[in-house]
Amino acid sequence: MTILQFTGAFELGLIYGLVALGVFITFRVLNFPDLTVDGSFPLGAAVSISLISSGIDPLIATLSAVVAGCLTGVATGILTTRFKVLDLISGIITMTALYSINIRVMQGRPNISILDQQTFVGMLKFFMMPYLGEFSLVVILGTLVTTIIFVTYLFLSSEFGLALRATGNNARMARANGISDHLMILVGLAISNGLIALGGSLFAQENGFSDVNMGIGTIIAGFASVILGEAICPARRLKFQLMACIIGAITYRSVVAIALNGSDFGLEATDLNLVTAVILALALIYPRLKGQKQ
């Protein structure tokens, strides 16, 4: 693997780490299988790229993407709390609607390019380039993601955050203690999808375009990152669990990068998915084997 591939996997891992964090909050903390992900990720991309290509300031465009993501989470939340739709189906409904909504956000075009325009990430990179060169993006994203993890940790350790965790663990007990589980679900979904939309926005800005098909496979990547992270750093303490999400995402992207080099070993380009699956399976089975031997 070359340095560029490595930094590429690291950067992508940090961006998708946000997705993993969002998936962790819904699937693990809130115990809510939220499939909105495949729709909120490209929504973040669509909102920010559309705004940037219309001349809006990149920072505002990025923040708008986060707000849009939060709203999709609220939509799913309302479906399940107010209208009693099953959690899995609520996410699917929102995700399906988003497919068309995203095209609308992009003014009917399935693909918008901003290769020639300044992005939020681009601005920061330009600033840091003289000092850090090739690693500027890694440092920028690393700082951003670390800050987000810290804030998320503070939130989940607050009275409100504890109530949210209780809702996911034992909703009946939470209600008996005066916690509005409906409110918790709405807030949890909003935060999760806001983070995921941010990931989509950063990804699109980094690659210079937004494509409506960008979301396909996001939930799988997010979920694999969470599981991989838990396998690599099993932890009971919340702050380590949060960090494990990012570590899992970076590892996942590194696995893909390694698998891409499989053509050096005579593998076909189409074997990529198989190789990724095998490496992932090994990564999950190995700790178990190790545990059994002891």
């Binding site: 340095i3 591939q5 590429g8 693909n111 290769l115 690659n207 496979g217 992207r253 893909v256 380009a269």
Partner: protein, 308 residues
């Protein structure tokens, strides 16, 4: 400074060795994209240069396309040939900072994708072959075979960039020739059946652009709309039962891109090469379908027949 020293070494090395590494990547394995890739490979093979080829498919996943781009630039290949718009965009975003030339193929609107300037038809470190469908010729064909035609229906997936671009131009051309257009949007193959049911009686003919969703459901369309003249944008579909098409050969597009690549490898700067708009389109008609639909093929129309 370090970069220029390195570049100098690389250039001198490449001159002395004359062995090149070319990377080809397509967004997804697909018959027309595979044909383009084959064209590129054959052109490179016939160049007389010693070329190593590495190839990857992004499995329809943008994140993987981005990682593929990083892989190539990290390996410092001599040239990258991305096929399709998302692959071209991800590759160019990384390659433009590293001086690795890019020759794209299978991109229908490189201007909209911000790969090249709209006036100059040239790009910075990038050139290629755009395969805009020969829309005018297609509309002309329909008008020729059905002179009294009033309305043409178009089935497409609004999430495929190529289809949307084709639709816009087709509508413009049709309006120009006083033909009405009716669109049928179809987001996935499973929706196709329902959409097909709403078509009869509303249109005099149907046009199917080179759209992944629509083409994968072609058999269903043909089976359920037997009495409607259906025009396609690629030869395989005509062989399968469409009435006719005016199509660019995908292989030829790839071959042209390969030839552009060779010029670049031999030293021409890609920024000086104008993007080629593939134009040698051929008309293809399926005679048994024409007979079944009672459509007379005019004597003076130059076309090829599909083999039965």
């Amino acid at each position: 400074m370090f970069k220029s020293i390195f570049l100098f070494c690389a250039v001198s090395l490449s001159i002395s060795q004359a062995k090149f590494t070319v990377a080809i990547t397509k967004f997804v394995p697909h018959p027309s994209l595979d044909a383009i890739e084959q064209g590129v490979r054959d052109a490179l093979a016939s160049s007389g240069l010693e070329i190593d080829i590495i190839a990857d498919s992004a499995q329809a996943n943008v994140a993987i396309a981005a990682q593929i781009a990083k892989k190539y630039v990290g390996k410092k290949v001599d040239l990258i040939v991305p096929i399709t718009t998302p692959s071209a965009q991800t590759v160019y975003q990384v390659a433009k900072k590293s001086q690795i030339p890019v020759v794209f193929a299978g991109v229908s609107d490189p201007v909209a994708a911000k790969l090249i300037g709209s006036q100059t038809k040239k790009g910075d470190g990038i050139t290629g072959v755009s395969d805009v469908s020969p829309i005018k010729a297609q509309v002309d064909l329909i008008k020729t075979l059905q002179p009294t035609i009033k309305t043409i229906g178009i089935v497409y997936n609004p999430s495929e960039a190529n289809s949307v671009a084709v639709l816009e131009r087709f509508s413009q051309e049709a309006t120009h020739q006083n033909i009405l257009i009716k669109t049928f949007a179809c987001l996935s193959v499973s929706d196709l059946m329902m959409i097909i049911k709403s078509i009869p009686g509303k249109v005099d003919a149907l046009y199917l652009p080179n759209d992944n969703t629509v083409i994968s459901g072609l058999d269903v369309i043909l089976k359920n709309l037997k009495d409607l003249p259906i025009y396609a944008a690629d030869p395989e579909s005509v062989a399968r039962g469409c009435l006719g098409c005016v199509a660019l050969g995908q292989y030829e597009i790839g071959f042209k891109a390969g030839q552009l690549a060779i010029s670049v490898l031999k030293g021409t700067s890609p920024g000086s090469l104008e993007v080629i708009e593939a134009t040698d389109a051929k008309t293809l008609i399926n005679p048994s379908v024409a007979k079944r639909l009672n459509i007379l093929i005019p004597e003076k129309l130059s076309f090829k027949l599909t083999g039965e």
